[in-house]
């Protein structure tokens, strides 16, 4: 299993603990793990797309690129793809955005905001169902990514994540 798969499984395990009286720590860490699962799924796919193959130094290059993804930039790009209106030049490069990719991008935006609240907003109390739903959405995004990847719009999304748009 990939690191992203492991994180997604960990998220599911965390929110399933103490179902009657779940600890806030478990719910918060579960939401956070769900976000990072999707983050790593997408950044790994992006790095593999940009630097393919097993030639000399390729793995090191992929690892270097994976350190360069910015959460804020990924959120902004994802919001554009989620709405079907990515900024140029990505709009021209992607063509019509599939509903599969739109769901993945929308889920990324939702989870990133939830992750921030889970990790930093201590005035807020999480309910179990709220966390369960967010983890389910992450699981659905993994399924939808399998349907989305390999298409023109998905390639544009993977490229756009790491290259800041001037639009």
């Amino acid at each position: 299993m990939s690191f992203a798969d492991d994180l997604l499984m960990q998220a599911d395990q965390l929110i399933a603990q103490d179902p009657r009286r779940p600890k806030q720590a478990s719910l918060r860490r579960g939401v956070s793990a769900a976000y990072y699962a999707l983050f790593h799924l997408l950044t790994e796919a992006s790095a593999n797309f940009l630097i393919s193959g097993n030639g000399p130094g390729r793995e090191e290059l992929r690892n270097a690129i994976r350190r360069g993804y910015g959460h804020n930039e990924m959120k902004a790009i994802s919001n554009g793809f989620a709405g079907g209106t990515p900024p140029q030049p990505w709009k021209a490069a992607s063509g019509v955005i599939s509903p599969h990719l739109r769901l993945v991008a929308e889920t990324f935006v939702e989870l990133q905001e939830a992750r921030h609240q889970a990790d930093y907003d201590h005035a807020r109390s999480w309910t179990r169902q709220e966390a369960v739903d967010l983890v389910r959405r992450a699981q659905l995004a993994f399924v939808e990514w399998e349907r989305a990847k390999g298409a023109r719009d998905a390639y544009a999304y993977l490229a756009a994540m790491v290259i800041k748009s001037r639009a």
Partner: protein, 93 residues
């Protein structure tokens, strides 16, 4: 950014098939974690109907988001939609 009452008005006609679901049980507006104007909409679902509601959850989410973005006149507005179980909210201290 419009206020919660205006947001509530924008989504008042979103009517799920699942009985007892409250769209916009809580609505907040403000700045999100990346300092963007944003709207948070909570959907309250009776515990015994949560699994049934999942059949239409995506559709309901899309409808809520579309109506709010239309009202805001911003096709890329940040709208966060969350689900809570009715029992959990009722038992919160």
């Amino acid at each position: 950014m419009l206020g919660p009452e205006t947001i509530k008005d924008a989504i008042t006609d979103v009517q799920p098939r699942t009985k007892g679901v409250q769209i916009g049980s809580e609505i907040f507006t403000g700045r999100d974690s990346t300092d963007e104007d944003a709207v948070w909409v909570y959907v309250l679902v009776p515990d015994e109907r949560i699994e049934d509601f999942y059949a239409e959850w995506d559709q309901v989410r899309d409808e809520i988001r579309r109506r709010i973005r239309d009202r805001l006149g911003d096709e890329n507005a940040y709208v966060y939609i969350r689900m809570r179980a009715a029992s959990e909210v009722a038992t919160e201290p």
